[in-house]
Symmetry: C2
Subunit: 249 residues, 2 copies
């Protein structure tokens, strides 16, 4: 008999922004798989009676296959991601691996939604995502930079608010500066920009700046950068996008 | 002394996809304001000791001002939205109202993030939002249709997955069909499309179709429509977008 696989988004940080369904799925699992840092963020939900399988960043494909294999073998399995597992997370890989099995061997799979990093960052900044936005990743590990740049230009031209995931890492130092320069071809230098690092975790940082003043070195692996659009303004300590859209935009 | 205002996203439906922080904010409030349907969805968190202020759809501006006034007057206030309050929700209006007060009268305001409808819909469909997507509203109550159409064309041309909020209501019957026809200028008729209605609520419906076969009458006030991109395919009962992006896209 096949088991079940829950692909779980743990939200941005600790317990405060986790959903009940996510907590229940981890608590009820016999096997919990995830990147070590994500398993460490939910030790309040796991115990010695569970099989906790930790793996490295970069081992996503193997982790997805391991999770599906354990569930196909009869176990109740939880595969955890931070944020939402469907957005730059593990759900795509795990569902693809499950669909590759013959129907009789496929475990029951469900995706348990979570608060993604852009939403957590938006809440800390105010309401920058209040009307129409795009999420783009600046990682070119799974894409050419040319393909990323085409998307950046399209979003910039359409005056959408933009949430940038994976803006910078040790191995990818220049992409955010290049993205800033591209956006500056379409938007004025005083366009408000928010940077949120480690939302909901120890060391949380929130910074509001402008497109012209955006310093890529302020961003890291755990930063989301939100670039405003025509309707976005700075109100006191908040970044707020108007819900109405003027015809000229 | 001023009080505090929590602008709370309750998630897509009942308790399962609410966060702890959202639940705590509603439980701890002295005054809870919201559209009647949203107050009804969190009666497990509220009680007779609280002042529950229900208002109608369309009264958002008044509700935001009432919430800020109550908090400025010294109360602990929760203003509730479904989904995430920052995305087509109450946060933009309430922060704007709070920022309009003189600093000495401004209450402490925080936004408590929630699972927005696109994420809830994505989880029920599989992993359609796995790489780069845009959220657009088809409502032209606060925008001209021309402005909406410009954004639709930009997103369609950039091959982003698209989550459509407010695709159809009694008073807005033709917009979704028009959006479908515009998208079909850029994407093939067999592009997978998912419709999720009342995610997490009684009567939840999940449907997978194609752009060519998309029937606007299948959508209503509580539907999110997710239109796939080049990397999106139907795998069994799931809609899945690949995490990698080929150079040709």
């Amino acid at each position: 008999m096949t088991g079940s696989l829950s692909i779980v988004g743990l939200g941005p940080g600790g317990p405060a922004h986790r959903t009940r369904a996510a907590e229940d799925a981890v608590r009820d699992a016999q096997v919990v798989l995830g990147y070590g840092g994500y398993l460490a963020s939910c030790t309040d939900l796991t115990g010695a009676h569970q099989n906790l399988v930790s793996s490295e960043i970069g081992a996503e494909q193997q982790r997805a296959e391991d999770a599906v294999r354990a569930a196909a073998g009869g176990a109740r399995v939880a595969l955890v991601s931070s944020g939402d597992a469907g957005i730059y997370g593990m759900a795509s890989l795990a569902l693809t691996a499950a669909a590759a099995l013959p129907p009789a061997r496929r475990p029951a799979v469900r995706v348990v939604p979570g608060v993604t990093a852009a939403i957590a960052a938006g809440a800390l900044l105010g309401a920058p995502l209040a009307r129409d936005f795009a999420c783009l990743t600046l990682s070119d590990l799974l894409a050419s930079w040319e393909a990323v740049e085409i998307r950046l230009r399209a979003v910039a031209a359409a005056d959408l608010v933009l949430a940038l995931y994976n803006p910078r890492s040790r191995g990818r130092a220049w992409q955010l500066g290049r993205a800033r320069d591209i956006l500056a071809e379409y938007r004025s230098g005083d366009t408000p920009v928010g940077l949120v690092t480690d939302a909901g975790r120890a060391g949380e940082q929130v910074e509001i700046t402008t497109l012209a003043a955006l310093n890529p070195e302020r961003a890291g692996m755990h930063t989301v950068v939100i670039v405003g659009a025509g309707g976005t303004s700075r109100l006191g300590d908040w970044l707020v996008t108007a819900r109405s859209l003027s015809a000229s935009r």
